[in-house]
Symmetry: D2
Subunit: 347 residues, 4 copies
């Protein structure tokens, strides 16, 4: 079968013929229809310090996907809950199931996590084998949407963690694809006011298309002052920090209301100087670090939003390429013109 | 000033001239613009066993209202947060502030609660004096809506208590005014599916106007089977029990999903035979009794829904009468043709 | 190997030689050291309507146990987290892992649950095969304690569900083995006051041994009045209803404080007449039906209490018998003289 | 009456005769028996930049106290819940009651908070007037303990915020008086393991007296490695950061387990460089800033721990001085030899 493989240290990926993966007794073999391209894939393409420190080529890339079940292992079959032909997506973090985190509702923080497309073969290929426990039926969600449920799930986790979002004010700081998804999730979840900021006006247009009541551009707007103004002087109940930048952190802490919450998803590449007395302690703030998706509450909530029609991620999906045009996919991500980019692999 | 007074045991109320209430140092005197008429007022009018057991005439009736601040006590003034001319509504439960319940976030369950219009003079009058701590500014919400925030708050409490309603399935059983409000609140709060049932098709039409995705009439529908079908076989995450009837209780327990929740607001006039093993224990169900409004989280959430435009209670307000036509107001409530009925008192 | 088998409909069980169970790829084969005898086993012995309605003989009985890993399936081995020789116990509810309940933290309510010793072969045998995911290492807890972690887990679930037990007042109504465990768990969890009631003074003595501050016998005490008195007039924050009897339910609802909670574990054999208006709605009460153990938060918390030394279940374990004396074990349970009864099977 | 007054900018305080405070209609006049001396009082004594930036002399100092009700305002009297002669303590943060924070259970974060002894006259005096709503009966707690319930409440807030402490592992970083109280609170609340660290061995001895299972001194111990070791490699569920120092912050983040929590009470005097990617996001950590005491859940929980006998703060109270020896009280706090220091004022 075809697979996009990081064959060796260095830039790029290679489309090559590889054997179809073996389907173990508890596994499901999935024929990939669509796959999402992520910032992580860009890091891998460019072989930055994170990628070179973590990965051991050769590895098939890709961790966001949806497709059709082609084969079931014996044990997966015996359960009778999945069948050949089912359209499915899957959680790409494969966890141990036995550690403290796995045993207490925090499997997304399992220290033995293996990520597909990073630590083991991934989904930019005609087929991928996944543990049946990680697989979820799409039940009416189309595969090109199923292919972006991994990053959309990051947004769901960021927006819904830590309290009632219904009737609250939400500030999404950073409007890459996950930030745009977060805007849509906050609206679907019943937030009364959703404000989004980004330096890129194209992204702000996507945020508006996803339902942002107001958008701010730090080049033109005093972001903190505007958030305060739009929230009647209080500041936002919830800030979704998607930028990962020290400037974003400072804005996030300042824009949150007394007793508010900052859920941090954007991955910083450097440290941030924090005034804990002023920004956290005297404000009674809660900061929370978002990793992955809650297994599997996040997926359940996301399915509800999508199937109920309250969340429509289509505006964020701006580009589609066939598998062999991975270089073009990487390029549009890199130049910041893209929302979410999808690879069309099978059908 | 004019006041509708329960002057003595027996049916009816009397519109009479009474002295304007005294405004104590911590009080606010409010010129009433609009007031809501409630099922409780019907009980008082008819002087049923509940009313005769609890009330000590003469009492001015009415506990749902909104109006304009006419005077501030010394201490209320010193705080500087309220001013003459402010349009306001108020929580009608006046609590002690010192008991276990008041001290731990359950003031709505204070055992020393005094309800206006029941235990002390109420709002079917030109003026009412309220403790400043019970008063909330309308900040843009019109007074005819402010006048129904008390029962709407019951609905908010019923829908939002006990977990994330965002993305959930909600079954509202009983579509009187509070049930209809509950439908609207569930939609505003981000429920993915809202089902409503009632025996009265007029009320079901109101529920649809408030955003119910599906309505059921037990005369025509197998309610439990239909809820199950509409929820993919699971049953509803949350059932709002607004009927207070043993048949409603049975439907509520059966329609809730495994691990679901039944929030009970409808006040039963008799006991219910419960199969706890089958309906509660093996289902892992949670039942919760709803009294009043959370002080003041409920009011805050409701204000957000109303000001943000996600909740519009207007369809439920079907009748308006001047103060002197109280008998007509009581009559439309009694015959079941009304949604919410409002008295127009001042301006 | 030896196994206690329900060979056919009717009273009793038969100790017979059966083949050692097959250890599937995801399974662990466990040499049983100790097993607990449960009220459920009494129902099965007596073949009451519940047992005859659910079970399909022949089935090896027993669902509470601990022992030593004798063999690992290929997949269980590959994980590297369990090893031959490890002392372990296991959750006896085997769930599907794919349904709404399993996917959202309520696997204990999976509708496809198979219970060992009821729906498939159990632990009153020299060996039992369990899915590796259900198995937990004892890490220092002795196997005779491990053998009662299933019912102790019911107690942990009952005491810890629904809010902070630290500093609260807990009333345990019914002091069978799980009630006695609940007393110990409430003390370990930091409850400030633990009251226990039962009609059997022998059981009250066990409750005192487990740390109850006060014990009540309805034959001598006005239970509700005494609970109220001991809690400064408020009633208990949490009532653990372990009796399953309508009289117990009435006491539970009356003894809970305004805004309190009744967690119901005792399985009723009949219906209960409930005054929802007085006992639930106007009290703002929460009722919760307890099934099984939270997977696996309950097990984690229990392990902490046991290993930390704050919970010592030994006083409750009143009898030990070898496997062949099952009839004696059943007899002491039936006559109400026993706390927890253990079978000594291997070593 | 006598009062310790900050009469003007500059070092020190003056014991002088001042008029007895007026008791307003909603107030309670309290004869002070005991008062606690706090680090804040040291800042005020030394007139550091915080003190000079916030305070407007003359102000009577002191915010931790307990005493006896000497007089009740008219409205306070009418409530009938407090009486002359009652022994009481009081929350020293006087809040507006009307803002978003006050209305939604976060009154401790009210932006209009007035702190007694800082923003208005305090308790280092024979009498203090307090709003009745801030006053709580001691109901058996002695006044010298009541006098330290303000800082003990900080500890309760720090330990209990954010999840079940029952059965958890707690690391208290910094063993000043509030850290030592936190150790005792964690034990009373059912923590399975409590570890404490400080550079001062005298304080570690107090922490042990309060129930710490293990104490660490960074001069001798690799704190993070030891916490990890003592928690079976996982790290602590909850870290109470009481040091306010960047080194403490780094240890706190590193010592918390994946998915754990760091509740920050120690007030930093400078910024901290934070590696959010490594320490917060990839760890799924929650940081929370602790201000004051939850009104009044914290007080309720603390009362339960004290009255139930599970929390005994006596070991922390190391020094007692009469009011006129305030300079000695300040001196023992400054040189780090003291636990909690109390002024004996009345009787």
């Amino acid at each position: 079968m075809r697979a996009l493989v990081k064959t060796a240290p260095g830039t790029g990926m290679v489309l090559q013929d590889v054997p179809r993966p073996r389907c173990g007794p508890s596994d499901v073999l999935i024929r990939v229809h669509h796959a999402g391209v992520c910032g992580t894939d860009l890091h891998i393409w460019e072989w930055d310090s994170w990628a070179s420190g973590r990965m051991k080529p050769p590895v098939t890339i890709g961790h966001e996907f949806a497709g059709e079940i082609a084969e079931l292992g014996d044990e997966a079959q015996r359960e009778g809950l999945l069948a050949v032909g089912d359209l499915v997506t899957a959680e790409g973090h494969i966890v141990c199931g036995h550690c403290l985190q796995c045993r207490t509702g925090n499997a997304h923080l399992c220290q033995r996590t293996q990520i597909i497309g990073v630590d083991r073969d991934g989904a930019f290929a005609d087929y991928i084998a996944m543990p049946a426990s990680n697989v979820m039926k799409l039940d009416g969600i189309p595969t090109h949407v199923g292919a972006v449920m991994d990053p959309m799930g990051n947004a769901v986790h960021t927006v819904l963690e830590g309290g009632e979002v219904s009737g609250s004010t939400v500030f999404v700081l950073g409007c890459g694809p996950i930030g745009c998804f977060a805007v849509g999730v906050a609206r679907a979840a019943g937030a009364s006011l959703v404000i989004a900021s980004d330096l890129n006006d194209r992204r702000l247009a996507l945020a508006r298309a996803m339902g942002a009541h107001a958008t701010l551009n730090p080049d033109r707007d005093d972001v903190v002052a505007r958030v305060r103004e739009l929230t009647g002087g209080d500041g936002a109940d919830l800030v979704c920090e998607m930028s990962g930048h020290p400037v974003g952190h400072a804005q996030a802490f300042a824009a949150a209301r007394m007793g508010g919450r900052v859920n941090m998803l954007g991955t910083p590449s450097r440290t941030t100087e924090v005034n804990f007395a002023r920004d956290v302690i005297f404000k009674g703030l809660t900061l929370y670090g978002v990793t992955g998706r809650k297994m599997y509450t996040t997926w359940h909530q996301m399915g509800r939003f999508l199937r109920g029609g309250d969340l429509n991620p289509e505006p964020v999906i701006t580009h589609r390429f066939p598998l062999e045009r991975i270089a073009d996919a990487i390029a549009v991500i890199k130049d910041g013109t893209a929302g979410k980019v999808i690879l069309e692999i099978g059908a």
